[in-house]
Amino acid sequence: MSESESVVERARDGESNGESNGQRRVEHVTCLGCGLACDDITVVVRSARIAALERACPLGARWFGDGAVPRAIRVAGRDASIEEASGAAARIVASAERPLVYLAADLSCEAQREAAGLASRLGAMLDSVSSATVLPFVLAAQRRGRATATFGEIRNRGDVIVFWGVDPAERYPRFEERVAPEPEGMYVVGGRGGRTVIAVDVGDARGPARADRRMQVAAADEERALALARAAVVGRAVASEARGAEQPDTLAADAATLADTLAGARYAVIVHDAEPHPARTDDAAEGLLTLAQALNGPTRCALITLRAGGNRSGAEAVLTWRTGFPLAVDFARGAPRYRPLEGASRLLERGEFDAALILGMPRSVPGAMARSLGRVRCIAVGPRASENAFGAEVVIDTGVAGIHEGGTAVRADDVPLPLRPSLEGPASATQVLRELARALSALEPVATRAADAAR
């Protein structure tokens, strides 16, 4: 099935009322405004614009907008055809000594797969926005593992919910309504009334206002609070730091109370936020993971890591299955190497790259990185690529995955969902990347670069 057929096909599947009064309703649309990826949105289309949304939260409404996107294709500032622009892009990356392929937000998994293939063929560094946000949790999980669940298990089983330094009402507006604590669950009768909500304020990062209990942790005490809680769960004391005997250790008492409540749950849930930048130290990340693991001794517990929008989790899933590593994958030697502690941003700052293929929404590229990109030859492919702030030499505007493009996205809990485009858009990112791959194949030396490096 071609891309354009699939757009129409999927849109048709989703329409219940079809065209009437000059408007069209597309139902069961997946919103990528945040990592919750709510898939129950109805999009009302009038005159090829999004006229109304049902069930979308303010974040979602901002993400959908009216669906208007620019449709520029330019090479060195001049309008070009897709073939010309792809050819120019292929020549730039093929002639580069050290190319970067970077996955920003708002790409489908299908586009991410194409991008990973290009990076392998080019011998490029391949990285994504995840390196700038969730990295400490990825590394901690690679050291220790993790205990987690998909959202539905939280909804159906979670009876004690801890929001650790995150207020979902602000950052993930429909979490409380769709996951917990509000909805009734298979094993949680009465919904909100059947659950205990604990807000943990970590420094300025406050938990939800409407909590049954509250605990305050100074930002500097976060690791210790987590260690104390875990020690209480496994029945070991943590050596008390040198404190005056006159000063009771309230943190230890609070942590022990928290541990008791969690261990007394039928199914405990700890919710934290990995965005918009790494708010946790490596040790705090590991502390959260190991506390949740330890709680599976006395009871069941899942740690939920919330993620921002635009299919960021998809990039980790795709890179993992294509390369064995979730982010910061370097193909310079032919086969992939894992370079999480360096990452695209740091290597770019060091002047390592001479060309960059930036895919996805330019405004989701971290600020420091966007500034360094001004120093290298850039190609921008993605929604609003033409609005990039790094002076890209080749620009190809595409649609937004989930608004103009179909395919698949991955929810923050690793559940894959279909994307139902509601509007026709410019060429899809997947199509453009396939065109770019074809253009590369036409340039003989490139096809063998990775193989040469390997030899």
């Binding site: 996951v179 298979m186 009871t299 069941r300 294509r322 030697r333 698949t408």
Partner: protein, 549 residues
């Protein structure tokens, strides 16, 4: 040779047990991706004199393409760092992709390496239907092999509710709907009821008649319901069962009880090695292989794959999440758990089987005993439950263990003997598998058990999936390095080098069901799900379904 081309394979010794051919030297003809009876004399030829010719390998039970497998990949960057796999140099500039290996290789590398062993069909044995989209995408990125997966159903909340209500017909219709919605090939049961209990806070199921939530829902009822569903729907493959109490001493009793519970029904029992331990929880381990395989030998409706343990690194990755918790708690190893809504669980623990370890040595022996005491190779499939008992890359060594008693006895002399008293292997098993028996347990048998009529044999009309090996007294080397591999008529391995990597086909079923049931399923999704009913099914796949019946 192009896919539409012709090829006469000349002078090889054909091992095609499904057609009663055992090493006869004759030509094999291929046209348009199929085996044909004859070709014109001027058709291109491939000289196979001195070579052994078999159908392409068929892996009935592997883990290569689920979200759980991918979590296992993500967990272990260190094993990927030490096993880089550059992109193979394919002919005619066909793009190829670099990846990494280890116990869970990246997807392209998985396809290349399976093909490099002469395997051309692979099934992932455990996919949560809610994550089926991801499994299809991973299989799409696994080239060369035809592939499919089994859908996890043995702890599905909706199914358990139908059983509780005595609605076994509705349960069957639900299973049929689910297989089609997920694009799956067969019904998989993992620790029936045990994973649901784990998610609810319990640690164990106590026997086949222990209640799971409701008195009417027991492991026995789950097994009966799903075995009957698979048979009533005439699915090409029987229900694929991972029994309760995996990895626990004394579990052979549970396994035998499960087999008897399904007496007279077609059923496949998987990685039987992990379920064939004698002894008792507090009274140590011993082999229970002889009793378990004796039941299989005597009951033609039962089939199994072995799930051999091979010494070296492994990754235990399973929907049997409580087992992984126990492994983590007892070893302190890294542990991933993911409870998957309304359907199943997932656990991952990286592991190493050491020949110096008493339990690992016993597991190794139990697996070999199952192979060597099995009287019908057609119902005994070679597997390591990749990557649980070891990588699929260790199949050639396993084949040598089966074919070469001297080698096997040398290996046996090296392992920890602590738990081997009274074991049949320790007492001396002389059997050596023949080439035809290897052809049965690695291709003809699994193809037949999977209901793949065009695979696992070399008769006219079969898929032209063919592997050519150079004869070698070292059978491990022989099976590790096929000279030629042909997939669907395309020469993918030439002179031991991977040269082409066409996409494989997706193997899936779409059994019929009473359409009225979807209303109830939709209400169930609305009430408890977080994925819309309308967004659940994966939709049309690129390949037509394999017919049922």
């Amino acid at each position: 040779m192009s896919a539409a081309g012709q090829l006469r394979i000349v002078g090889g010794a054909i091992h095609d047990p499904a057609n009663g051919v055992d090493g006869e030297v004759r030509d094999l003809c291929i046209r348009d991706g199929k085996i044909v009876a004859e070709l014109p004399d001027d058709a291109p030829r491939l000289n196979a004199r001195g070579m052994v010719v078999m159908p392409g390998g068929v892996d009935i039970h592997s883990h290569v393409a689920s979200t759980s497998v991918n979590q296992g990949r993500l967990l272990q960057p260190e094993e990927h760092e030490v096993d880089p796999e550059p992109a193979p140099a394919l002919v005619e500039g066909e793009p190829s992709y670099a990846g990494t290996g280890g116990t869970i290789p990246s997807t392209f590398t998985t396809g290349y390496r399976y093909a490099g062993l002469g395997y051309t069909t692979v099934f992932d044995a455990a996919v949560a239907p809610v994550a089926a989209r991801s499994a299809h995408a991973q299989l799409d990125d696994t080239p060369i092999v035809d592939s499919g997966f089994f859908a996890l159903l043995g702890n599905d909340d909706y199914l358990l509710r139908q059983i509780a209500a005595g609605e076994r017909e509705r349960a069957r219709d639900y299973a049929a709907w689910l297989l089609g919605a997920a694009g799956a090939y067969a019904i998989k049961v993992v620790n029936p009821g045990g994973v649901a209990l784990w998610k609810g806070g319990a640690r164990d199921v106590n026997g086949l008649d222990a209640p799971v939530g409701s008195a009417a829902v027991t492991p026995r009822a789950i097994l009966e319901t799903l075995a009957d569903a698979a048979n009533a729907l005439a699915l090409p493959h029987a229900v694929h069962i991972h029994c309760n109490n995996l990895g626990v001493p004394g579990n052979s009793a549970t396994t035998l009880e499960s087999m008897r519970a399904l007496s007279g029904r077609r059923a496949h029992f998987t990685h039987l090695q992990f379920h064939s331990y004698g002894g008792a929880r507090d009274a140590g381990w011993r082999s229970g292989a002889a009793e378990v395989i004796a039941y299989v030998n005597a009951n033609a409706e039962v089939s199994c794959d072995v799930g051999q343990v091979m010494f070296g690194p492994a990754t235990t990755v399973t929907a049997d999440a409580p087992v992984e918790y126990l492994l983590h708690a007892s070893t302190g190893r890294r542990w991933l758990n993911m409870d998957i809504e309304m359907e199943t669980g997932c656990g991952v623990v990286p592991y190493v089987y050491k020949e110096t370890a008493a339990v690992a040595a016993l597991q190794w022996v139990v697996g070999l005993e199952l192979f060597l005491l099995a009287s019908d190779p057609w119902r005994t499939v070679l597997s390591t439950d990749h990557p649980n008992g070891g990588s699929f890359m260790s199949y050639p060594r396993l084949i040598r263990l089966l074919m070469d008693r001297t080698y096997r006895d040398e290996q046996l002399a090296r392992v920890n003997p602590h738990l081997l008293a009274g074991s049949a292997l320790a007492d001396g098993l002389a059997r050596e598998y023949t080439l035809n028996e290897i052809a049965i347990v690695t291709r003809a048998g699994p193809a037949r058990l999977l209901g793949l009529r065009d695979k696992g044999h070399l008769g006219a009309g079969a898929d032209a999936d063919v592997t050519l090996y150079s004869r070698d007294a070292d059978t491990e080397r022989m099976f590790a390095t096929p000279r030629y591999v042909i997939k669907g008529g395309t020469l993918v391995v030439e002179e031991g080098q991977l040269r082409r990597a066409p996409a494989g086909r997706r193997l899936h079923v779409r059994p019929g069901y009473d359409a009225a049931i979807t209303r109830g399923i939709e209400r169930w999704f609305d009430r408890f799900g977080t994925v819309r009913f309308a967004n659940y099914a994966v939709g049309a796949l690129g390949d037509p379904p394999v017919p049922c019946g």
